[in-house]
């Protein structure tokens, strides 16, 4: 418990530091906000075009899809706030040898490297995304029982953990590969599979997105839990699975660090 409090206080200090930095670059705040809103708009635009020609896609009505998109926006904004900018910096730490400084600190590098920079502009996007999700829920014709909402929050937290360990895994890979950009593009391309409801994919592909590469757990599963398309009974097994994958990723990260050869003085 004491360790958790220590880590939370440290994250509070990171947040404060990033907030001060952000105040110096206010145009960056506005531009990052607009950029993410545009991403939301094109995702919504694509589905609006598709729904001009159909009333449902893989069992998702237009109202269901708005809930899915709201969930996707929230999970994306959480990723942008907490992990994304750190993940993009990690290969550069390896290349320049800056990782040495993280290794010297008395906190686990999986925490200090992946949570050091809090993306403040994306906090505004998170608020927008939550607003969009609440709007989607309010216009949906079906009611949302409390147990669905609680299960949704649980799987949203689980999805956040998946986002974290997938990026940590790719960050660890970059220690071996050093070729920096490639690994980020690999993750960026693969992660796009999670931007659509998993039910659109072929069964084999879908199984992969639940197990080996659990991108479906990030947005698709929480949205389906909220919509009542999946129940706890269907997917309870993903909770121990995520715990095991997180543990394995942390072990792999430690293993990669043992093979890290400092690149500079």
């Amino acid at each position: 418990m004491k360790t958790v409090v220590r880590y939370l206080r440290l994250w509070g200090a990171f947040l404060q530091n990033c907030l001060m930095r952000e105040m110096e670059f206010r145009s960056h705040f506005v531009l990052t906000f607009i950029m993410d809103i545009l991403w939301y708009a094109v995702q919504l635009g694509l589905f609006e075009v598709l729904y001009l020609h159909t009333t449902a896609i893989a069992g998702f009505s237009h109202a269901d899809m708005l809930v899915f998109l709201g969930t996707l926006y929230v999970t994306d904004a959480i990723d942008m706030v907490l992990f994304s900018s750190n993940f993009w910096r990690f290969p550069e730490y390896v290349r320049t040898g800056e990782l040495d400084f993280f290794l010297l600190r008395p906190v686990h590098p999986a925490f200090s490297t992946m949570l050091r920079y809090v993306n403040i502009p994306s906090l505004a996007n998170l608020l927008f995304a939550i607003g969009f999700l609440l709007f989607a829920i309010s216009v949906h014709p079906d009611p949302f029982p409390l147990d669905h909402i609680l299960a949704f929050l649980l799987f949203l937290a689980l999805g956040t953990l998946v986002t974290y360990f997938l990026q940590l895994f790719f960050a660890a890979l970059s220690i071996f590969l050093v070729a920096t950009e490639g690994i980020q593009f690999v993750f960026y391309n693969i992660s796009q599979l999670g931007d659509k409801p998993d039910v659109i994919y072929h069964r084999t592909f879908q199984r992969m997105l639940y197990t080996i590469f659990p991108l479906a757990l990030i947005a698709s599963v929480p949205a389906q839990v909220l919509l009542g398309k999946l129940t706890m009974l269907d997917i309870w097994w993903t909770i121990p699975l995520v715990a095991v994958l997180l543990w394995l990723t942390l072990r792999f990260f430690d293993f990669a660090l043992r093979h890290y050869a400092s690149a500079s003085s």
Binding site: F25, H28, T32, V42
Partner: protein, 269 residues
Amino acid sequence: MLRTYRAIVRTALSQSMEYRINFLISSSLGLIIGAAIHIFLWNAVYDAIDHPRIGAFDRKAMLFYIGCATLCSVLTRAYRKEREIAAEIRSGELNKYLIKPFSFFGFVASFSLGERLSGWAFLLIIAAVFGFPILYAANLSLSFAGICAAIPFLLCGMMLNFLFTLIVALLAFWFDEVWTFQVMKDLLLWFLSGQVFPMSVLPAPIQQIAHWLPFQYIAYVPATLMTGQQHPTELLPYFPVVLFHIGLLLLLAHWIWQKGLLRYGAFGG
């Protein structure tokens, strides 16, 4: 002068080989995953409708179109050099180009061409390895006349994307960071170029507007020619339009460059 630019093309070609693994991974994944996601998505749409066609596209034609449009958008995409200019303006590294006896635009265009030559070779090999077995299995064929007509449009699409990226990079004369603008431009191109849906499935008034915008030449026009959805003669009148867009963007880039140089402090480098 031509010899200078030929040397730049050769240098870029050999430099791009250093990044071949990065390029191979990002391009092949961009092509395969990008196409797969939207093929699955459109397949789910066709599963849900009770009529066989959306506009002029039946299921097979739509999936074929999505595959070709993704290939076109990857072929015409922007490369490293035009993006790097923003960083070079900020760091003052631009100075090294200003003192050399060649046109900066000529240098960037030649370098970019060199990078693309290796890129196109990689991509066409990937497309052939994955594409031909799929075409054979699905009993589909590419239109030879369409491919011949698509090549000039693809070259124009490449120039358009190059100019869009260059113009955004030149904004670094005024802004500390332009990567957000680059992402916004990429998002707009992804949506408006016809990579994820053919423009003909849009409502008629939007289609009319889209026809006069430059974005459709990046994926929609070459893809419909390759798949045989449109006959080359139907799209011939659009060729002067795309050339007009290129000319306009070139003038705009030149104007921004001139204005930017007046602001440029040339510190660092």
